[in-house]
Every structure is written in C-alpha cells, then in structure tokens.
C-alpha cells in the first residue's frame, strides 16, 4: 500500500476520523498502533512478525538497560542490541550474498531460498535504525526506558515513517505519544500542505523526469545526452525521496505528531559537507550522532587521523546501508573522499580567502560544482556494478556535447530542473516549506491553483519509490 494509492487514501481517511473521534491519548495510540500494524500487514505477515518480535526484544534490552548502572553491564547490553540489529540487517539485506551457501543447508531443513525473499521486511533499513534508538537513547541517558511495549511497537511501526523514514529518535516520538493531542486546524492545514507538496514532488516531478532518466541512462548514450540523463536522475531521486518524506511528515502532522524534516534544499548546497547537512538529514544525523561522533571521540588522541578515520567509517557504513555490492561501497568512499578533502583543505581555503578576499568565488559556482560532484556520485549509486559505473564515466567523454545535435527532451528536463531549484530556493531561507503560510492570501490562492493544475495535468504516479528498495 503506497501513499499515492486509492487504498491508502481510504484507509487514512478512516484512521484519521477514528483517531480524532476516540477519547484521549490512550485510545488515539491504540488507533495508531492498529493502523500501523495493519499497514505492515498489508505487505505480508512475515514482515509484521519480524518487526514485532525484534521490537519486543529491543524493548526488553532497553528495560534492562534502564535498571542497570555498572558501566560494563550497560556496555554489554548496548552491544547486545547493536549485534542483534546489525545481524538482522545483514541477515535480510545481504541474504543474496550467502543464499547459494544457505540453499543447500536450508534445503536439508525443508526451507527454500524463496522463503528468504518473502521474509525481507519492508522498510527494514529505516525501522531497524529507528528501533535501535530505543536502546541508544537510554544508554546515552537522553530518556528513560519506555515501560509500555505497545508504545515501542507503535514507535517502530509508525506507518508514516515505516517504509522510508525519516528515521526518528525515540526521544522525539515517544514523548509525543505520551502527551494528549488536541485537534488544531492550523496544524491540520500544515499537514495537508506537506502532503500536497510531497505528492507534487513525487508524482509530478520525479515520475515525469524518471522516464527521461530511464531512457537517457540506457546503454548507447554518451556525452551531453548521458549527462542530461544523470541530471534527470538527480531530479528524480530528489523528487522521489523528498516527496515521500514530505508526505510522511504531512500524514503525521495531520495526526498531531511532528516528525523531523528529511530534506532542506540539498541541491543548493555550496560544498559537500553542506550537502550532507541537507540531504537525508535523518540518516546523516543518526550516523553522525552514533558513529562519527563516537568514533572520532574515541580516536581523538590520533588528532586529524582519528577524524579522517571517523569520516571514512561513517560514509562507508552509509554506503553499505543503502545497499549491497561494491557500487555502494564505492559511493560511500566517493563521498568520504569529498568530505575529507573539504575538511582538510580548510586552512588552505582560509589562507586563500585572506589573501584574495571574498570576491573571486561566487556562490552559484560553488552550488554548480557541488551539484555536479553529487551527480557523479549518483553514477555509482545507480550503476548495477562497478564496471557499469566506470563505463558511464568514460562515456561522458565520448560523443557530442553540442546541445543542438543531441536528442534530449530539454523542455521536460528544464521544467523539472526549474521546479526543483525554485522549490529549494523557497525552502532554504525559511528552513522549511511553511513559507507558504507567511505569504499574502492572493499569493497562496494563486500558488494552490497553479499547483493543482500541475498535479492534474502532469500527475503520473508510479508504484515505485526508489528508496524503498533499501
């Protein structure tokens, strides 16, 4: 069941009505839990069983941790959680690496490899990281252990964030589940707006430009046509994932729950570090808090080497979180290299700035270079294998770069690019899409009408969300 499906619309309307009719927080949470479990079940019973059992195990560890004081015992409980969760991710995500070996072993026990594929739970990579914060936040004493296992289950299965995040922290969501939620019309309006702007990014931008990227990135294209395909993929990926994230925030806010912002105009970033502060913010924040900070602190006596080690480990984990295979490992290394160069060149840049002043490097040039660095990373991200990625890089230098002689639907690509950058330019100053509520009424009406026209005219939703494969 996807956000942009009639089944979801009917189910959400029913849940929404029931949620605001029932009396009090406890009943509201029960409605949310039933809806979330129903959402998981719509993808299969195995997914629900894996999610429920592993969440209850996490709850038990967090409970024990909350009652434990000796540092060594606390560390043992933390590592138990880490091993169980990483093991869970590795077992399901990397199954195809060891399926051939497992096949013979499981075959003898009467279990077939097809069963492994069925068992792959939806949104696993997202909700496993989210679930881990139940223990991590208690370990770091950011909140007490949640006593009610049903609240933990609701936290992990919360249907707006289940499939593709944003990856939430228990310290943010659980206190909201514990508070009474009263109807607020302005927050409902914000939720509707978030959902509509998300739907626009997914069903109008991503899914229209997606067809273009598919055709231009097919074998045979070189030079500018191939570059146009990479641009199209960049806009598709942004529209697809940011669109999902905005819709998730919208659903949650309509139910009186605030979940974190996941994208904040990443393609207007002026350097690679800035990009990662604005792209998939919830994952970057999670990795920064629990891996980079922990590691760089542990290795602080190594000085700059410790920091660089922290950067590389964090980005390699990020790459491998996205998927299996060497392309994702290379994607992590690509960005680790970019961040390392940016970080270590700080003094050089500062000296350059002191000597030549601030005039020589316009912001648009920094945005242009950063965007194209990110685009080159997407080649690794999308390629089926390392050889394919290398071949794509090589093909960029073949063929023509004359726009008049390449066959590209420049109008669609140009409109999507204009829409993506214009939207991000609106988002960047306010740090959110809520800028619309600060504009005059005539502007809002005109904007809603234009958006409505574009949604009706170019609405082309696909069932596929790129990030759901992770």
């Amino acid at each position: 069941m996807q956000f942009l499906s009639s089944e979801f619309a009917v189910a959400f309307a029913a849940v929404f009505l029931l949620y605001w009719i029932v009396p009090g927080r406890a009943w509201q949470n029960l409605v949310l839990l039933a809806a979330s479990l129903g959402f998981v079940l719509s993808f299969g019973t195995q997914a629900a069983v894996v999610l429920a059992t592993s969440t209850l195990a996490e709850w038990a560890i967090a409970q024990r941790l909350g009652r434990t004081e000796p540092p060594r015992a606390r560390r043992i409980l933390l590592w138990t959680s880490v091993i169980l969760n990483v093991g869970q991710l590795a077992f399901f995500k990397y199954a195809h690496f060891y399926v051939p070996e497992l096949t013979s072993l499981l075959g003898g026990l009467g279990v077939h490899t097809a069963t492994l594929h069925i068992l792959m739970p939806v949104g696993l990579s997202f909700w496993v990281l989210q679930k881990m914060t139940l223990t991590l936040d208690v370990f770091h004493r950011r909140m007490p252990a949640e006593k009610n296992p049903l609240n933990c289950l609701l936290f992990t299965a919360f249907f707006p964030t289940l499939l593709s995040g944003p990856i939430e922290h228990s310290r943010n969501l659980l206190p909201q589940f514990a508070k009474p939620r009263a109807w607020d019309t302005s927050r409902f309006s914000q939720g509707v707006w978030l959902f509509v702007i998300g739907a626009f990014q997914k069903a109008v931008l991503a899914d229209n430009v997606g067809a273009l990227s598919e055709s231009l990135l097919a074998p045979g294209h070189t030079g500018l046509a191939l570059m146009a395909g990479i641009w199209a993929y960049a806009f598709q990926l942004y529209g697809d994932f940011a669109g999902y994230s905005y819709m998730a925030r919208g659903c949650a806010r309509m139910l009186g729950i605030d979940i974190k912002q996941n994208f904040l105009a990443p393609y207007l970033a002026t350097n690679v570090s800035d990009y990662w502060k604005h792209w998939h913010i919830s994952l970057t924040g999670w990795l920064n808090e629990y891996i980079y900070s922990t590691l760089s602190m542990a290795l602080r006596r190594w000085g700059t080497y410790g920091i660089v080690a922290g950067i590389w480990v964090t980005f390699i984990v990020s790459g491998l979180w996205h998927g299996t295979g060497w392309t994702f490992f290379a994607y992590g290394c690509f960005h680790a290299l970019g961040i390392t160069v940016f970080t270590l060149s700080k003094d050089v840049r500062k000296r350059f700035k002191k000597r030549f002043g601030d005039t020589g490097w316009p912001e648009w040039a920094a945005v242009f270079l950063t965007f194209h660095f990110v685009c080159m990373g997407y080649v690794l991200f999308r390629a089926p294998g390392l050889a394919g990625a290398v071949s794509t890089y090589a093909d960029l230098f073949r063929g023509t770069w004359n726009p008049a002689t390449v066959e590209v639907d420049w109008l669609t690509l140009g409109l999507c690019a204009a829409a993506v950058f214009a939207l991000q330019a609106c988002i960047r100053p306010d740090k959110d899409v809520m800028w619309i509520f600060t504009r005059p009424v005539w502007f809002r009406v005109a904007f809603y009408l234009a958006l409505g026209f574009l949604l009706l005219r170019f609405y082309a939703p696909s069932d596929r969300f790129i990030y759901q494969q992770f």
Partner: protein, 82 residues
C-alpha cells in the same frame, strides 16, 4: 583554578586551536554561532581542554548535549570538581 577562570582559559584554547587570534565568545554564545567551532576543530578542542584542564570527557553524550558555552563551562567545572 576557579570557575571564573574557565572562560578565559577556554577562549585561549579555542584561539590556539582555530588560529584565530581575534576569536571572541562569551558564556551565552551558542556553539552553532561560532563559525570556527566545526566538527574538525571540535575534536582538537576536546583534546586541548582535556590537556589544559586535566580532565577526561569519557561520556561523549554529555558533550553532545552542550548548546551554549555556559553548558560546556558547567561540564568542565563538574569534571574538575569545582
């Protein structure tokens, strides 16, 4: 060392780590507003503070929770037993 001496000492370490002799902040300054206090300098600052104040930041979560300079001064004072 007294609590009052912590802020000037901290400023001295920060100027030394960042190489910015004219760097200024006070106890109410938020760390996100100190441009030079980035992730790279943060680690160097931690080492600098440990060496200068004779303390160990063994619990990274306490450092992660500081927002203003005053929070850090309180943490240092706590670790030094001031």
């Amino acid at each position: 060392m007294t609590r009052d001496a912590l802020l000037p000492a901290l400023l001295g370490i920060a100027r030394n780590v960042t190489g910015e002799e004219d760097l200024e902040f006070n106890s109410q300054t938020r760390f996100e507003d100190i441009e030079e206090w980035d992730s790279l300098n943060h680690i160097h600052m931690v080492v600098g503070m440990e060496d200068a104040f004779g303390i160990r930041f063994n619990d990274p979560s306490r450092l992660q929770s500081v927002v203003r300079v005053q929070d850090l001064l309180d943490l240092i004072a706590d670790l030094k037993g001031l």
